[in-house]
């Protein structure tokens, strides 16, 4: 017997057999009923899942809206993307410090002033980094807050140095 005739023999027998409902099985009516019960259960499950998803979306929206209200309606965070903009007074103070310390005066080289000037320089570098990140990520709230903190720290540093000098 070659392969094709073996396949054909078995295929024909199987097809012939496919018209006979398996006698060990429950009647088709019973199967149909249980199929419908299963479908109903699944649909109920799907409905439940849909409600859960809808509830989750609603919660997220409510949390988002509350957060939005906390920031004040119509208020959005904006910032100046140009490198650290100092006030005229602060710029004058920085110029004064630079001129004064160019003469290598003793008061400029005290450990306190040196440390404060070091801090001031670091704060400028930090501001530049934040400005670069803002250019990449846009108006990111965390970056804007960090920039504001550094700018106020810078103002305090300048004031202290000028007072000491």
């Amino acid at each position: 017997m070659n392969d094709d005739s073996l396949d054909k023999l078995i295929r024909d027998k199987v097809r012939e057999h496919e018209n006979l409902y398996p006698d060990r099985w429950s009647a088709p009516d019973i199967l149909w009923r249980s199929l419908n019960e299963r479908r109903d259960r699944r649909q109920a499950k799907r409905r439940k899942l849909l409600w859960q998803v809808a509830a989750a979306i609603l919660i997220v929206m409510m949390v988002g809206y509350t957060f939005f209200l906390d920031n004040g309606p119509g208020i959005s965070i904006k910032h100046d993307l140009s490198p650290a903009a100092l006030s005229v007074k602060e710029q004058d103070a920085i110029d004064f410090i630079a001129r004064y310390c160019a003469g290598k005066t003793i008061s400029c080289n005290t450990p306190d002033v040196l440390e404060l000037r070091g801090d001031l320089e670091r704060s400028f570098r930090k501001l530049e980094e934040i400005d670069d990140q803002l250019k990449i990520y846009g108006n990111d709230a965390v970056l804007i807050r960090a920039k504001a903190r550094i700018e106020s720290h810078q103002a305090r540093l300048i004031k202290t140095i000028v007072q000491i000098l």
Binding site: I10, D23, L31, W32
Partner: protein
């Protein structure tokens, strides 16, 4: 009691025969009567198909119901291409369901080598359909799967390789082993 699938008539309340397209249309409009008719029309061959792949009657019954649920869920995507297209489409869904079940239960889906095969004696000396089916049942799962897919359900080796996640050559080799085992069994019982 054995019922014949051919005896089913596509008649809905109006008592006039219903063609397949009309039946599909009614199923799609969620008519429970139409869905029941569709189920009754295909339940017998599909039950046999599931048994052929899974052997275990309880598992086969479960898979058959899952398969019909998929059929009703996906009927809107079915493209009618002639009288037999619906049957072929349902058959594909059932085969996939059977394979999924076998994949879930990995222990049943093992490719064995020739020396591991143990075949029980088949007592009858005449070649009846039941005997042929018993022969197929005696094949190891891997052989039986490939033989069912290729020789009976008409899948190509490429398709089988995709379905069973094996290479085409592995599919060919499983088929060759299955055929030689079947021939050996047929010879053993004096049927060839």
């Amino acid at each position: 009691m054995q019922r014949s699938g051919c005896e089913m008539h596509l008649i809905i309340k109006t008592n006039r025969p219903l063609d397949l397209l009309e039946l599909i249309r009614r199923c799609l409009s969620d008519s429970p009567d139409a869905q029941k008719l569709l189920f009754e029309k295909f339940v017998t061959p599909m039950a046999r198909l599931c048994i052929r792949y899974l052997k275990d009657h309880d598992v086969a019954q479960d898979v058959l119901m899952e398969g019909f649920m998929k059929v009703f869920d996906r009927l809107k995507h079915f493209e009618y291409r002639g009288e037999h297209s619906l049957g072929m489409w349902i058959r594909k869904i059932m085969v996939n369901e059977c394979l999924m079940m076998l994949r879930k239960d990995r222990t049943r889906f093992i490719y064995v080598t020739e020396q591991h095969i143990e075949v029980n004696e088949i007592v009858e000396d005449h070649i009846a359909t039941d005997d042929i089916l018993a022969l197929i049942d005696h094949l190891p799962d891997g052989y039986r799967m490939v033989f069912n897919l290729y020789a009976i359900d008409g899948y190509s080796h490429k398709e089988i390789a995709g379905l069973l996640d094996i290479s085409e050559s592995a599919s060919r080799s499983q088929l060759t082993h299955a055929r030689s085992k079947l021939k050996e069994l047929l010879r053993k019982h004096g049927w060839t």
